[in-house]
Point group: C2
Chain length 423, copies 2
Amino acid sequence: MRSSGSRPRVVIIGGGFGGLYAARALKHEPVDVTVVDRTNHHVFQPLLYQVATATLAPTDITAPIRWLLRGQHNARVLMAEATHIDVAARRVVCDAGALTLDYDYLIVAAGARHSYFGHPEWEKIAPGLKTMDDAIVIRQRFLLAFERAEKAATDAERQRWLTFVVVGGGPTGVELAGMLPLIARRTLPPEFKNVDPATSRVLLFEGGPRLLANFHAELGERARQDLTELGVEVRTGAIVSKLERGAVWVGSEPIAAGTVFWAAGNEASPLGQSLGAPQDKAGRVKVLPDLSIPGHPEVFVVGDQAEMVSRGKPVPGVAQGAMQSGPWAARNIVRLIAGRSTAPFNYLNKGDAATIGRYRAVFQFPGFNLSGKPAWWFWLLLHIMYLAGFRNRAIVLIEWAYSYFTYQRGARLITAGRIAEGG
Amino acid sequence: MRSSGSRPRVVIIGGGFGGLYAARALKHEPVDVTVVDRTNHHVFQPLLYQVATATLAPTDITAPIRWLLRGQHNARVLMAEATHIDVAARRVVCDAGALTLDYDYLIVAAGARHSYFGHPEWEKIAPGLKTMDDAIVIRQRFLLAFERAEKAATDAERQRWLTFVVVGGGPTGVELAGMLPLIARRTLPPEFKNVDPATSRVLLFEGGPRLLANFHAELGERARQDLTELGVEVRTGAIVSKLERGAVWVGSEPIAAGTVFWAAGNEASPLGQSLGAPQDKAGRVKVLPDLSIPGHPEVFVVGDQAEMVSRGKPVPGVAQGAMQSGPWAARNIVRLIAGRSTAPFNYLNKGDAATIGRYRAVFQFPGFNLSGKPAWWFWLLLHIMYLAGFRNRAIVLIEWAYSYFTYQRGARLITAGRIAEGG
């Protein structure tokens, strides 16, 4: 591809929090930035579960990456899939060779997918929740289950379609499981005549001993209580041994469930393999303290794709980790261009949160914990602030207010998902 | 399927304007109504082109059919595909036999698809605009074209991706073609670095001698002027003879175009064939004056699927035709149940409209015509009134105001359209 000058070329792979924030940090620097993403949009990932549960519309929490960077004259955006990195030639190969990008500096921020623990075939049965396409698939499955129950021929079939299983008790699993009973019990019942959606069962399976393993034990316990009150059947120490259409096995016990969602484990983007750097079991690239990789001070890996360490402690795989490591890598590139040495990443823990159902949340800050309603209001405030970069803020607020006060879900659209064959 | 009593069973196929309005007309009648649709949502079809051009989000103009009928205690909704009608047994077969519905009265309102004039293989190249899935595919193709131009390797490829063809100069073609240059010229340019979207070409091909053939000649001419001012190249008498990826042939002239949209001709749902009633060339069922079919006074066909006559004149295939014929058939069923004779359909022409670009429209009323800005404001007012049944009205207004004043398009999301493998 053409480059617009002789300034250092910075290629950023990924338009999520890590890549987008890295690009923005380079706004006033004498570099040419290229952001490559296989989609055209940035997603506000912490609210994906609200799209998956038909509360927000997909466009409420997405914005075109090129729109977000439209005012940044040193940045261009390409919608392409980075398929290989040639660190020796300093080149990113995209779209299976149709496009190549030469770089002087590289930031890899391609994120992670869910891990199916050696059973990739389970993904078709139990979709995960990492991208907007995932959220649309989950929304479709969730809504279709009630439609199928309504026209089921037998009681067993009806009951199966009214049983939902969420696998994984981290924040995503807890947030997803917390919304399902609300919709089944409060929103849908008046609309169905053959079945009563309020009789739906929602089960949350966690393989470990407690929910929210990365939070304080007290908050994990609180989440369990809140979910149980909402009607979710929480089972810890429940390891899924087998999945097939219509059934989940926990150990040797089969459970008939028409719909299964997956929120267990992460696996970094396979793109990291081509870097030749050491990786951990989850495929995350083990970066040096300054976020670069051994032997290649010009290559940085950030966000969910990296195993990062800050002051001797591991950095958690959360939005904040990506939002902070992306710009940090960008500033290290600026330091290198200026002939200075790089600085080790210094992660600032701003707290972790998970919402539960309609108005409860758990919040963990470095010094204290918060739960219940106050935590929920704080969570709402924070997320509205972070969404500020989006044009959709006002609409998101209206949608939230609407669904909060009326229990109605505005975005209950089942699309067929026809594959575009364009051009 | 179970029926809730011994009252007459009315089955309605289709949850569009015809079917939905028919169901509502039966709200206080002593019948059991079943509405069958292969999607879960009703679409406000006149605004589909705004979704296709990324101005409105899909959820802005859709609502679940069962939500729209939630307060109607004598109606149930089933998401299923009616695949055959057995008029002798008075039975509708759905989902290839998995579900059957016995009826005492039937209203068929399954609508129409675009006609490809004997070339069904063209649909993959040039998608039409009848359903929400269609609109999402068109939005995806339209937005992807600019992404592909931005990373094109050659000038020819770049120019091809910046050329858009709309086939068909009826209201849908005119409305779609009118929006494309606005977005290409006003919204996108600041975001692209390698190409200038403002250099895009939009061509509108109409096989007949003028645009909007069903409107007064004066309005067709006005539409041509308005489109030309917006930068659309309008060609009448231009018959498409061949379509392949990347090129359209008009007669023997090939035109390189990366994206082609189809808005020419209609073909009624093939479901009408199983009725055994006479059909016209477009597959529409020729109904009797009371909207029933010969030999089966208990079977009615309405909306785009029917060739209807009102006081000796053909009823146009527009939203109003469906909105009025659906309830008319419903009231004829009520008359039959009461032992009275049916009434012949009396279509009230409330006017036809087409919008052109940002603030122009043409409006044709029985006594007079309206065009330009006044027509646009009138159109806006009318459509907001009709959207009143939807919860999304406030949000649609905000979206419109936003895109009207800023030229920004809020719904520019390219989804991958992964097919759900659910259940």
